[in-house]
Symmetry: C2
Subunit: 108 residues, 2 copies
DNA sequence: TTACATTTGCTAAAAATAAGTCAAGTTGGC
DNA sequence: GCCAACTTGACTTATTTTTAGCAAATGTAA
């Protein structure tokens, strides 16, 4: 399951941790953990590294799950149309390519 | 061009407005407009409706451009992998479907 | 050079995020 | 029934990020 909260819950349960075990390790109380697992609160971006250390899961994987979830929620909340993610993908390509050609000397 | 700043600039120029003309209409000064057009500042979400009225462009279109841009920038900034948007798309589907089945009476 | 347009450095103000508190529930064993 | 684990509501507070105005700098065209 790629939903971030479900992912967290699954990983926590794999390790047989209660929410308060997990909360202690990551620095949150049980209300927060519960809300995060149930997707009514977001996990904090600044704790992603700590999470990847704690779970021993590659940070890129964690980050991708986190942002895919964030974007999905936002797109849903604001009723974006279905094309939005392919447009976003194009935009990333554009930005990357722009970044690359930047810094090159421009001749007029 | 689907990049939001470029889109704004193009629409403004179509109408032969200076940044300060546009700024006056939408409630921002030229600094803000400049930064928004150059993508070093984001257009404010709360002004999207006003923008759609001003440009006479369907709000859905404006919103989609806005969020596609936002997501792309964020994905780029945090170096998300390329798969992220298809995962996000799946997640939206999941959320929608979950929302639908919610509220239905559950029999055990 | 003058005038208008645009960009940028600095910064206060505003907004978004993050997370705690505390109380009042549920849920699922045993 | 009891207990521990979990959920949820209704806040409040703290922190971080972002916005956008001002003024100064730069660009640009006549």
């Amino acid at each position: 399951m790629t939903i971030f909260g479900k992912f967290l819950r699954a990983e926590r349960e794999k390790r047989n941790w209660t929410q308060s075990d997990f909360g202690e390790k990551i620095g949150l109380n049980t209300s927060a953990i519960s809300r995060i697992e149930n997707e009514s609160q977001r996990f904090s971006k600044s704790k992603l590294k700590a999470l990847s250390d704690l779970f021993q899961i590659d940070e890129q994987v964690i980050k991708d799950l986190y942002f895919a979830d964030k974007f999905a929620r936002e797109a849903f909340q604001y009723n974006c149309s279905e094309t939005i993610f392919s447009v976003a993908e194009q935009n990333v390509k554009y930005i990357k390519q722009k970044k690359e050609t930047q810094g090159q000397i421009e001749f007029k």
